[in-house]
Subunit: 484 residues, 2 copies
């Protein structure tokens, strides 16, 4: 058992841990990152963002989804997309990404320590791995060891028919129907992907609404699109029990090739059937597995670590970042939290501007937003006007066969400042950054009116929406020439 | 013969004409647009931007081009893509776009006058159509009637084997090899599309270089990609004659199914063969067909109309916009010129900021830029530093199987102001608008460092390039913490 000493020990090698470690290393600090050899990159790389978003690209391509307005509703590139087709691309990308993460840490002189870390004191960590045990001394610690799926004991997980989001790649074949329990971001993303694959999806959520932080008009557009393709929404419904029936039990309902089916009983008395069930209700943070008490800390009931706006816990030299601190639990945000925490420790650094955080939801069609929603502005009694552009009005929208797509800009009618940008449709997660820059740098609606956009692009939607918004003001005050 | 009087008569219904007409109509003016019924939307809609960019989307999809890094170099969705496959989508989009243009003009109360316009006096126009002749009186005129392909009498155009860019849709089948003469934007766009289709392309250009307004590193990347796929570049070579040989003439060389081939003789003595030849050297502006003399104007030797920075000719009530005034002859810019010209006439309006004009080149891979190139900065003795990001470093780049792709930011090392953004790769024409907004609104490289970008996106390239650029400065001045 040897003892090593570091300026910073990072627990977890996901997006927050990586960026925190690299930022500290760039400032000349001696940095170690602790993670199991099989988990480099964290949930993001292994079961979260990377595989799910890669899966999504594969589904979009292999189903010919974006091309259906040209080639007809039933057009599909491969009539029966197999798990192998999908898994092939996912494996390729995961392997490459892991290589990227390892290379980046190595290039910056960060030590990778294989194993699982536990606090044995405020500055002392013990790392266990199959090869043995070692002790690390840390001047500073960044806790960035993320979350795992929450496991409800009522749900009979079997990794085959009843699965959590970590187990999708264990499916041997794609079921024709699936029950998705939980309409959070992850549940809705998977439900929309499966719908695109042609599965019959029933999405169950205990709360009466879903994606409450997203603009209602956008959520309604998504709901409409998913319903058009056959998704059944059961919002405000609670699952009381789940059982798997084998092939002998009956002949009706949705059954797999072997005749088995999953049945979810709802509190309202409804029985929902499917060949499989995906459980995506909440995540359990890993703060319960760190021996935090030895450092003078305590996780909350969901395993999360509480931090201030500088990502610092109540123990001054211990920070936390990423999913383990809770909302928004997005890779993009986690990276920035990790980086800012490192700067806080060693260099002093700017705080995050939460009003400019973008949100990307990788549903089909995808959603992205920055700033306030109509609901938030109304609740805050902030007057606003809006400008809108639909993709089918854009030449590019027609060229790519985009049937759905909309960009909405909310703005202050007197200062013309941009208050929020909400997009649903192809490239939404890319396009939102144009609006984000205009908001961050104090631009107004006149920026969109006066700027030349490449033609044909989807970015042109900003110009169309900008003119649309300004024309609404003109209608109220005629004789002020503004737009077309 | 009836006489009608308008506040504004617009000659031509392409992008410049449309936007000029609508801007004037929004200001309450009586507006007419003159164009032939079969030409609504102009070159842009009929033979230019719309069909060529739609063709490009169809080629990208039908050839599975973007997916080759996953499914192997020889992977193609449809083994033999036919002209009919390509034409189907192009026709769909053209029809929809024409509808959009007509509806937009109608909604704004703009009168469409069918026919060809000629000046009979500074305020008087005569319009001829198959149905007859009519006279229009115009308080103001906007000339926006574009260009046509230049026709070199040495080239034996036959619309079948030797074609100009207006005639691509007349091809009955796709040749296996093609000579493209002229490496301007249009020639290079077509050459790269044909290369993606698997054709053997020889690109001939009289000048020793191509796309001189584009950053050299970007042009070299494009050249490399096209060569990888078999394009032969013959720069600094002049075509002295072109002939079509029928099937009886020989047995060797590239010949069509009927044995015919096109032979281009170069001044250097080389003989270049192909099944077909596309001639894309220059465009002739239509200013020679307007009877400009009757209005007191004269087109230049290439038919162009000369205007000042407000798009006004030497006759104060006559303006011109779009391709007819020359460079850059992009639909995006033409729209803005038309709109600004109308505001100049009736409302006063801001001038264009040419330093913020984006350029989009729809090659495969696509190119976009805003601001200065390295060459321009060097020539102006402006010191600069650069930050770079390659798509294959980005998770999104890996997910979409993008093998090529790069974003480069040029910036002032002391003020950190952005001087230029240069992109080659998927979504380049969309992504450039993020950099454009930062430039326009006075942001610096720190904006890219401090901004959270959705993950995974290609937009993340800005953050990677931003950190890369700032890290270069740190290397020169250590101890200033900046990036990862």
């Amino acid at each position: 058992m040897n003892e090593q000493s570091y300026d910073l020990v990072v627990i977890g090698s996901g997006p927050a841990g990586q960026k925190g470690a690299i930022a500290a290393a760039k400032m000349g600090k001696r940095v170690a990152v602790v993670d199991r050899r099989t988990s480099i990159g964290g949930v993001c790389l292994h079961t979260g963002t990377i595989p799910s978003k890669t899966l999504r690209e594969a589904i979009l391509y292999l189903t010919g989804f974006q091309q259906r307005s040209f080639y007809g509703r039933d057009y599909a590139l491969k009539d029966k997309v197999s798990v192998a087709d999908l898994a092939f691309r996912v494996q390729t990308v995961m392997a490459r990404e892991e290589e990227v993460v390892r290379a980046q840490l190595k290039r910056n002189g960060v030590t990778l320590v294989d194993g699982t870390a536990r606090f044995t004191g405020p500055h002392a960590l013990q790392v266990e791995s199959p090869e043995g045990r070692q002790s690390l001394e840390a001047a500073n610690v960044l806790i960035a060891c993320g979350t795992r799926p929450a496991r409800d004991p009522k749900i009979p997980f079997d990794g085959a028919r009843v699965i959590d989001t970590d187990q999708f790649n264990q499916l041997k074949e794609l079921p024709r129907s699936m029950i998705v329990v939980g309409a959070g971001v992850i549940g809705v993303e998977y439900a929309s992907m499966f719908t695109a694959l042609g599965m019959q999806i029933t999405l169950i959520e205990q709360r009466p609404t879903m994606l409450d932080f997203v603009d209602r008009e956008i959520v309604e557009t998504l709901t409409y699109c998913m319903r058009q393709r056959g998704t059944v929404f059961r919002l405000g419904e609670k699952v009381v029990s789940v059982r798997v029936e084998d092939g002998a039990r009956g002949v009706d309902g949705a059954r797999g090739v072997d005749g088995a089916r999953v049945v979810a009983m709802l509190e309202s008395g409804k029985e929902i059937h499917g060949e499989a069930l995906l459980y995506s209700v909440g995540r359990q943070a890993n703060g319960d597995q760190l021996g935090l008490e030895a450092a003078g800390l305590k996780p909350d009931e969901r395993g999360r670590v509480v931090v201030d706006e500088h990502f610092r816990t109540t123990v001054p030299h211990i920070y936390a970042a990423g999913d383990i601190i809770g909302f928004p639990a997005l890779a993009s945000t986690s990276m920035e939290q990790g980086r800012l925490a490192a700067h806080q420790m060693f260099g002093g650094g700017a705080a995050m501007r939460p009003e400019l955080l973008p949100y990307g939801i990788y549903t089909i069609p995808e959603i992205s937003m920055v700033g306030k929603t109509e609901q938030e502005l109304t609740a805050a009694r902030t007057p606003y006007e809006f400008g809108i552009a639909r993709y089918d009005e854009l030449a590019k929208g027609q060229m790519i066969g985009s049937e759905v797509g909309m960009l909405k800009i909310l703005f202050d009618p007197s200062s013309l400042r941009v208050l929020g940008v909400h997009i649903i449709g192809e490239q939404a997660t890319e396009l939102v950054h144009i609006g984000q820059a205009v908001m961050a740098l104090g631009g107004t609606m006149e920026y969109f009116r006066d700027t030349v956009f490449n033609y044909p692009t989807l970015a042109e939607a900003y110009k169309v929406a900008g003119l649309n918004g300004l024309n609404k003001l003109d209608a109220a005050q005629p004789n002020l020439p503004t737009g077309s």
